[in-house]
Symmetry: C2
Subunit: 215 residues, 2 copies
């Protein structure tokens, strides 16, 4: 038993493979979540395991998702533990030997159980989600009405049981392979933003979050 | 019982939410997989559900992953069913009402059980993976040796039980909301390729797959 581990690194969040890439730093976790549009939520419905992508956002030490009240995922998540994973791929790492090839990435794995947010918290959380995506837009659009809010469940899960893995930088070749005449380095990947596409029939001037989308 | 459904749309791959976005077309599924660097694999280890990102590639009608023989994921996947999910986010969809906001995306969910590939198939599959990532590189690098191959498991899962969901195009506002003076449209997102970063000490000329990386 490794008695030197903190409680955050024991059990489900102990990273065993490439443990040198592990992080349990809240700032790293928050940055990975805040850079994500979606997470993958894995849960068991009593018969099968499912893995469903869904939009996510963070408020403080909780990750939030939302869905229709009647969805299988929402029902299952309220009844049992799950695993929420976010992954960003940052590049292909080309080493001089086949088995030292890798990828640069940032990933976060969160364990725990979602809880439903109450009626007032639901409005606050969904407005925070809009503010996160497109700051300032909430006041321009038609806000949700009572019927729309009533049909929607907002769930949150604390970030207390989470682990990140991050790989960055160049390939790590073995000494004996360094003389091999193969190009070595990183082929970077990143997410970029395309030119906004205005809807047919919309003659409203583009607000700041649209004009600055590609900056 | 819906007797008109084909076997591919029944059970675990029947899409119930936003079913108009569902596809069971093999070409759509293959394109989603081929555009992905990683998938998320969800499995149950007897205690908990886990969701782990891992590199993936496709050969014909199978999706492939690989890992260390001793990894928990590899062991669990050989012993039970799992769910493999791939998601590409293509943009934020800004509607005139809060609850009609959406994202454009392409996702694939695959159910089934992985099987281990035999020793010869392992070499063929990993070389196909390299060819998929960086065509022509396999002949330049040091190939895997017997020890490296022996320590690695390659798994494949058939794509027979899979469903895709795809959303594209403009926002879908309700008629009554069309007069609202909010900008509406799509803020596109896409993956792009950054300038290759050569490793320190590498003086090998960049091969074609490096020179053309950003094209």
């Amino acid at each position: 038993m490794n008695t030197s581990s903190s409680s955050r690194t024991q059990g489900r969040t102990q990273v065993k493979r490439s443990a040198n890439r592990a992080s349990h730093d809240a700032a790293v976790l928050h940055a990975i979540i805040d850079a994500a549009w979606v997470c993958h939520v894995a849960f068991h419905d009593g018969h099968d395991v499912h893995c469903i992508p869904t939009a996510c956002w963070r408020i403080g030490n909780d990750l939030y998702i939302h869905g229709s009240n009647g969805s299988r995922m929402i029902k299952c998540l309220l009844g049992g533990d799950c695993c929420v994973t976010i992954t960003h791929v940052d590049g292909l790492v080309l080493a001089r030997s086949a088995f030292n090839h890798s990828m640069n990435y940032r990933s976060a794995v969160i364990y725990g159980r979602f809880a439903a947010v109450d009626a007032q918290g639901k409005r606050t959380a969904l407005e925070a989600f809009m503010e996160h995506l497109v700051p300032g837009r909430q006041r321009e659009i038609r806000p949700g009405n009572d019927k729309e809010y009533a049909a929607t469940t907002v769930l949150r899960i604390p970030l207390d049981e989470a682990a990140c893995k991050v790989r960055g930088g160049p390939p790590e070749d073995e000494e004996a392979d360094l003389a091999i005449a193969a190009w070595a380095g990183v082929l970077p990947l990143r997410e970029t933003r395309g030119a906004p596409v205005v809807d047919t029939g919309c003659d409203v001037a583009a607000p700041e979050y649209v004009r600055r989308w590609q900056e």
